[in-house]
Structures are given as structure tokens and as C-alpha cells.
Point group: C2
Chain length 340, copies 2
């Protein structure tokens, strides 16, 4: 088969007996063109199967059509949701999506990102949590003239550079819900130290407890790292402690599943013996037994919004997505506390 895309704008110009610029105008749908010329040129383009070379365009325009997501996040569902959202955002445009993982704990993280930026020069990047809270990385992007948007649970930057979810309020709602159905001994499994989202979710928990006049005792709080295993560990610690909680808010779904497993190991039935609320609303959460009550986190929407912010011109502010609020999804992992 003859290889496509081997003809250039010059070939078209020659065959159509017009100038390169005219062909360029046809391609870019310039309005200053006689209908006759346009049709003629389009016919030639069609005939020889010409397609513009994106690399040459990128050079001439001094920009390419690539946006990248830079992350240090091992959670598969989260990553795919983000990619889905960004792809929705750039759908119908010329943009494509690149993915670049980095190592948060590496001392060379800045160099990793630098290298990536230099090698690919994406038009824009979206920074995912937890590395999105690193100001130095954002500045690094800026120093290359690369547009960036940061996804986080707190406003860390100017609005044009941020897509923010409010984690605190929905967690407050979730914990309040536990309190409403009668729980008093409500534990918290935290996210990793240093993660903004972890701090926000903890704040929501503490606030809800305080608002209800419930004291948060030290044994009620277990550390976690957003992984399944850490959820199991935290769950076991909670269940093996002197005092047992009757309910627990777990800072993400994956850990919540871990807590469920821990409960099973101790022969505790959920939700009778322990009510659980998670955070994220990953597909997983409805695939376990019992289905997990959790906070829906609008990752896809956030990612779409981020993409739109990146590709929209400086003037045209994208319509603010108003549905970026999280909400409590009530399923089967919560009931009132056991009588006693």
C-alpha cells in the first residue's frame, strides 16, 4: 500500500497551480478565499491524499497539541478516571494526551519533570495530587512556558491554575450521618501524612465530631497510606484496641475495603458489628459485600475542567463546572450501632 502522508503542501501547491500559502489557507479554513479556489485545492488534496505534517505545524506555530498528565499516584482507578476526564475535555480538538509518572520520593523529581518538559514540550500539563501541592513543580512548568493546572483539595494557586474539590464538607456530612444514625464511637482511618486531601478529610471528621459535641479520643484515629494493606492494618488496630468503635470513616475506598477485610478476619459482620464509610466512590465500592457507603469524588469532572482550562485561550474562561462538589452515596455498609 502506498504510504499516506508523504506528500507535502508543496506538492499540493504545484499540482493545484497555486501558492503554498493558498493551500495553507484552505487547510486552516481561512475566510479570505474564493470558493472556486478552495474547491479546486481541496480536490487536489483529496486526490493525492495529502495530510499536513503535525511536526512541521508545531514548529511553525511554536506550540504542539499535546497536554500531559504528570502524576505520582499508584491508584489505577483514579488515574484512569483522570485520563477519562481529560480526554473528554480535549475531545473534538486537535489535542492528544500524554502520561508521565514521576517518583515523589525521589530527590530527582524536579529533574524528571524538567527532562520530560524539555523532551516533549507539552502545551499544558495537569498536576495530580499528591505532587500537585508542590509549588516548586508548578513553578518549574511555568519556567518552561508550559501552562499548568493543579488538581487538589485546597486552593493552592490562582483559579486559572487550579481545579479544586471540597473534601472537608462531604466528609463532615458523612460523619454527621454516622452520628445521626446513633454512632458515638466513630473512628477515623487517615490518609498519608503530608497529603492535603488527608488533612482536609480529617478536618471534616473532626469538625463533625466537634459539632456534635463528641470527643475525638486518641485511639479513634489510625494512620493509613491510602493503600489496601494500610486499611487492613488500621482496621485490625481499631478492632483489637481496648475500646472498639461502632463506626469508622475511612479516608479512601481502597483502605475501606481493607477495613472490611480486617473485620472479617475478626469475625465481625458489617455493617451490624461495624459501620463503614469510605471516600472516592470507585467502581470497587459497589462491587464489595456489603456495598460501601462512600463519598462520591468528582474526579472525572475535575479532570475535564482541568483540560478545558488548559486549552482555552487566555481570554475565554471556560464555563465553571458547577458540579464539582462531592456528595455522600448511601449504600449498605452503615446501620445504627448495636444496642447495649
Amino acid at each position: 500500500m502506498t504510504q499516506r502522508g508523504n506528500s507535502t503542501i508543496n506538492d499540493v501547491a504545484r499540482l493545484a497551480k497555486v501558492s503554498k500559502k493558498t493551500v495553507s489557507r484552505v487547510i486552516n479554513k481561512s475566510s479570505l478565499l474564493s470558493e472556486k479556489t478552495r474547491q479546486h485545492v481541496e480536490k487536489v488534496i483529496e486526490e493525492i491524499g495529502y495530510v499536513p505534517n503535525p511536526q512541521a505545524r508545531a514548529l511553525a506555530l511554536r506550540r504542539n497539541f499535546v497536554i500531559a498528565v504528570i502524576h505520582d499516584n499508584p491508584n489505577a482507578q483514579f488515574l484512569v478516571s483522570v485520563q477519562k476526564g481529560i480526554l473528554e475535555g480535549i475531545k473534538g480538538t486537535e489535542f492528544g494526551l500524554m502520561v508521565q509518572p514521576v517518583d515523589r520520593n525521589s530527590p530527582t523529581i524536579e529533574k524528571e519533570i524538567k527532562d520530560f518538559l524539555e523532551r516533549q514540550r507539552p502545551y499544558g500539563v495537569v498536576l495530580l495530587p499528591p505532587i500537585s501541592d508542590n509549588d516548586a513543580l508548578a513553578e518549574l512548568c511555568a519556567s518552561y512556558g508550559t501552562r499548568y493546572v493543579r488538581m487538589a483539595s485546597v486552593e493552592l494557586d490562582t483559579p486559572e491554575h487550579m481545579v479544586t474539590s471540597n473534601d472537608r464538607a462531604p466528609v463532615h456530612e458523612a460523619v454527621s450521618y454516622l452520628i445521626e444514625v446513633g454512632h458515638k464511637k466513630i473512628a477515623l482511618v487517615e490518609g498519608p501524612k503530608g497529603f492535603i486531601s488527608a488533612a482536609e478529610r480529617r478536618a471534616g471528621y473532626e469538625q463533625a465530631m466537634a459539632d456534635a459535641g463528641l470527643e475525638v479520643e486518641p485511639w479513634m484515629i489510625e494512620p493509613g497510606s491510602y493503600t489496601f494493606e494500610s486499611g487492613v492494618t488500621a482496621g485490625l488496630a481499631l478492632l483489637d484496641g481496648k475500646t472498639r468503635p461502632t463506626a469508622v470513616f475511612v479516608s479512601n475506598d481502597e483502605m475501606a475495603i481493607g477495613v472490611m477485610i480486617a473485620a472479617r478476619r475478626r469475625g465481625i459482620e458489617i455493617p451490624r458489628g461495624l459501620s463503614i464509610v469510605g471516600f472516592d466512590d470507585t467502581p470497587l465500592s459497589s462491587h464489595v459485600w456489603p456495598a460501601l457507603t462512600t463519598v462520591h469524588w468528582p474526579i472525572v469532572d475535575m479532570a475535564r475542567s482541568a483540560a478545558l482550562k488548559l486549552i482555552s485561550g487566555p481570554g475565554e474562561i471556560p464555563i465553571e463546572e458547577t458540579s464539582l462538589s462531592s456528595s455522600l452515596i448511601k449504600r449498605d455498609s452503615v446501620v445504627g450501632p448495636p444496642e447495649n
Copy 2:
């Protein structure tokens, strides 16, 4: 902050009082250079913070440094594993990874891919199942001079264009294992019609049954679509049937989790009441209760191998990854059949 990467090779040449070509040689580490000149030029590069423009390079070299994964696969864990493998394969190179989803059921799938190829002109693409079995799509890539590698369960193309896993043998092993521990009424939950992997896994099942002199009766086979929900449906159908299986091989983990849920709904304990074997060995499979016995599918290795095939020159054949065989991971979802 002054913006990086705004200086060009000409600036360096002028300041260093050498020619562009000499600078180019320094960048590309040509050996034909006096050490003195090299150091001098490198100093200037350092001073003005010059970094080569990748778009210009791409134009001059007539190739960019992007490889893309094209897929129509909704499974998050699978996608992320593939991305991980590819990224491992291109680590240390100049390549970056793009992601392009397409709609398998859309009549315009060829156009979608065409548009993507024209817009981005990746150096190479890896085609994931199930669309990897579409010869027309592979030819499409070839017609643009884009290198491609197809991931599948069967050799569909020449070795340079294929990364293949053998699904049949490990499924045979898995079902044989069920037979060994005493099961006779072993059901199969199939993958979607038309998927090569589904057919291969079914073949492995049937062969194992035949080898053991066990007959596969019609009620033993339930359709599925690789989704959790279809697993629940298939599981219920199996359990509500006239005859109940004592074990079931489920063609992927997600459906296997669905079958587990179905069993719970019917009050059947796993593995006592029903032994289950899955396929994939996703992290999920060890996060459920009981932990799922399953077939480990070396997706990451396959993807890495695919990337290496793409970026290696026509001469240098990459070392064949020998560890691309799947293997049975025994966990807790299988015991012998109940006595009777």
C-alpha cells in the same frame, strides 16, 4: 522568572563563536570534537540555559519521540498495567507515552484512529485487545508508516508486530487443578463473544474437561462480558439453575468478584459452597474475601516487550522476554467439593 528554552542553537553558536553544526555535535555527543570546543560550548549552553526544541528536532529528523497506546478497554487496572509496562520499556529513552481510546462499536473507529495518527504522527503504537485483533486497524497504522505492535492471546501477525500471551495453557492448568481437588461439575463464565481471549480461555477450559473425561453440559457455560455486573448475572444463573456447579472458572477477575457477590446473595459460602478461579491477577483479586485463586496474566511484561519492539531499530531485535507465560496463583477461593 526568565523563561527557559527560549534560546536557540543559533544563540549558542553566536555566543560560543562556533557554527550551528558544532553546537549540534555537542548536543548529540558526536565523537568528532575537540574536548576544548565541547567544554566551551557546553559552558555557553549552561549559561544561557539552552535546551533543544523537540518540535524542530522532530521535523528535521522526520520522526518524533512518542509512542501511543490505542485501546478500547474500560478496565482500569488493565490499562494502568499496560501503561506501566510501556513506560518501563521506554524509560531512559527520549520517548513519551500518549493514550488514545477509541470506540470499538462505533462505525467510525477507523476514522478515529486515522485522525489521531494524522494529528499526532506517533512513532509507534501499541494496539490493545480487543481491537488488536482487527487487521484493518493494523494496516491503517502501516499505511501511515507508523510502527505498531498488537497485544493479543494469539499470533495474529508477524512476530515483530505481536506480543502474545498464551491463555489456553494456564486456563487448562487452572481447570485441571479444580478437577484434581475433586470437582466434576465445573462451570465456565465466558468472556464476550468475538473476543479472542474469551475463545482461548474457553478452549483451555474445554480441553481440560475433555482431558479428564468430564463432559461439558450446556448449563455449565454462562456468557459474560468481562464486567462485574455480568459476573453477578452469570453467577446467579449458575446458582439458580437446576443443577449447581461445585466450582467455576471465571474468565476474568472482575467477573469472578461478581460471582462471589452472587454467591453471597444466595447465602452460599465461598469456597465451601462454591470454588472459584479467576483470570488476570489484578490487585483486586487479593483484596476480596476470600482471596481469589486466579491466573496471573503478565500484562506489564507484555506491554514492556511491546514498547521495546517498537523503539528498537529494525536490526536490533529486542531480547525476547521469556517470562510472558501466565501461571496459576493459588489463594483461598478453592477447596474440594462438598461431600455427598
